[in-house]
Amino acid sequence: MPKIILRSPDGNTHTVDARVGASVMETAVKHGVPGIVAECGGALSCATCHVYVSDSCLERAGAAEDFEDEMLDDATSERRPNSRLSCQIRMSDELDGLEVEIAPEQ
């Protein structure tokens, strides 16, 4: 199972096992990792699953598509070049060890 390393706004780091095909958001929420709200449950409608992908993983995680990109413009926390909506990153074996920081405000 690919692992995801998430840094929560409270400063704690959580390492969780992801099912291949599950999103980063889904994996974090299911295991009770604090910080991701995910009001829409992954429907790309709420922008409350905002994360910053660590630079070393950016390329592997891929870029946001148009709709996600527009949602990110209006996310509550500052948008950065490495911002993503975590419901749109689907886990695969290639993403094993993905490191993300959860945005402080959702």
Partner: protein
């Protein structure tokens, strides 16, 4: 069953293991509640998301595991006792305390000293002959969606009864598979109950453009069958639409049976105040089962069927159970994905007396802003996330957007937000 077991632990009992029931449990734990918490749900599945049932799950883009709201170990970690297949049939309150005893249909007794009702809603049944034929489906829970998912590949002609969100979403999935799809709606426009005419017209055109047929002002009088399976849908004008799959999405009825047995005040739903308290202030209720004061016009009572409401009201209900201060209510919002169209709704448009169309519906990217007494109350944004976010933010601040400028797509909506 005749075995009766009695639990000695008390604590809080939550009836209903949906978005609202789970939300109450999580909020109790987050607020430091340490007594036992039991969530009982009559379904076989642990709490899961319903929205994908008519969207990604139906389309085969998600599996059942993706639907679950929490992992198994989450319940253990948070010390939440989750009982599935547990239908609470009766509840008797103690005479001298806020507690009581609930009984499941298997004869299992659960004592509690705090009670929350999160019983949700069930789909309205179409009251016509032929409703029990094979190939006639509703869409509320995982078994419904699973069944529909297995029937779709063998279907050729699908009739969707009801032009609301769930019906239109299911129609889009069926059409996406290349099936022959007809949507039948009693009113003279789609989404009649929830949107302004331009949105209704937009979705009619959008579905027709994608190859579905839309029949408005048409009511179903019977479902016809042959050899036990549905074969057609008969309309009041005598026309019969051939069909081998019929999907019914004509709204829901809040589940109020238990609340009525408990003598709680009920309208269409269980009546609660803005702190999610029922007419018995010791008992709270949240989610689709409730009827609550409108957040902006509190003398009006409303029933909301959305994930956002269930989640938000659950937090309020948990605070009330712990006698804590009422958390700030969030702006109601909703979404619907139909084919490649993303509709995002901020606020509650019911009761609007004016609206402004921003952008050109023909481009499939536009927004309708709703006003009441000159004040912005809601927006439907079609493929327009910037507008959705701007209106959501304006409403959260109690601000408005001047209707005279709102149509001007040259001006970003967020620059038009004004204090009232």
């Amino acid at each position: 069953m005749d075995t009766v077991t009695t639990e000695t632990e008390t604590g809080t009992l939550i009836v209903g293991a949906g978005e609202a029931g789970l939300g109450i449990a999580v909020a109790l734990r987050n607020a430091g509640y340490t007594a036992p918490v039991t969530i009982t749900g009559l379904e076989a599945d642990p709490p899961y998301q319903r929205p994908p049932l008519s969207k990604e799950f139906l389309a085969g883009e998600m599996d059942e595991e993706n639907l679950l709201l929490r992992a198994d170990d989450f319940y253990q970690d948070k010390d939440l006792r989750l009982l599935t297949n547990a239908h609470i049939e009766d509840i008797v309150l103690d005479e001298d305390s806020a507690g009581g005893t609930a009984t499941t249909s298997a004869g299992h007794a659960i004592h509690f000293d705090g009670l929350a009702l999160a019983t949700g809603a069930s789909p309205r049944r179409l009251p016509v002959p032929g409703g029990d034929l094979d190939g006639v489906c509703y869409l509320r829970d995982i078994p419904d969606a699973r069944r529909l998912r297995t029937l779709l590949p063998g279907a050729t002609r699908v009739v969707v009864v009801g032009g609301g969100y769930i019906g239109l979403e299911a129609a889009a999935v069926a059409r996406g598979r290349g099936l022959d799809v007809t949507v039948v709606e009693t009113f003279d426009r789609l989404l009649q109950r929830v949107a302004a005419p331009p949105i209704s017209e937009f979705f009619r055109t959008a579905h027709e453009k994608r190859g579905a047929k839309v029949l408005l002002g048409a009511s179903v009088t019977a479902l016809r069958g042959s050899a036990g399976s549905v074969s057609g849908v008969e309309l009041s004008d005598g026309m019969v639409l051939p069909a081998d799959l019929v999907i019914i999405g004509i709204g829901v009825e809040p589940r109020i049976e238990l609340a009525q047995k408990l003598g709680l005040d009920c309208g269409r739903g269980i009546i609660v105040d803005d702190a999610a308290r029922t007419s018995n202030p010791a008992i709270v209720a949240a989610g689709d089962c409730t009827m609550q004061p409108h957040p902006l016009y509190p003398t009006e009572s409303i029933c909301l069927e959305s994930v956002q409401n269930a989640a938000d009201q659950a937090k309020v209900a948990a605070a009330s159970l712990m006698d804590g201060p009422r958390p700030e209510r969030a702006v109601p919002w909703f979404w619907s994905n139909q084919a490649d169209i993303r509709l995002q709704i901020a606020g509650l448009s019911m009761g609007f007396d004016d609206y402004v169309i921003r952008g050109e519906p023909g481009t499939e990217q536009f927004t309708v802003l709703y006003y009441r007494d000159g004040r912005l109350i809601a927006a439907d944004a079609v493929n327009n996330p910037h507008d959705f976010m701007a209106v959501k933010r304006a409403l959260a601040k109690g601000a408005t957007i001047d209707p005279t400028d709102a149509h001007n797509t040259g001006l970003p909506l967020k620059t038009l937000i004004r204090e009232i």
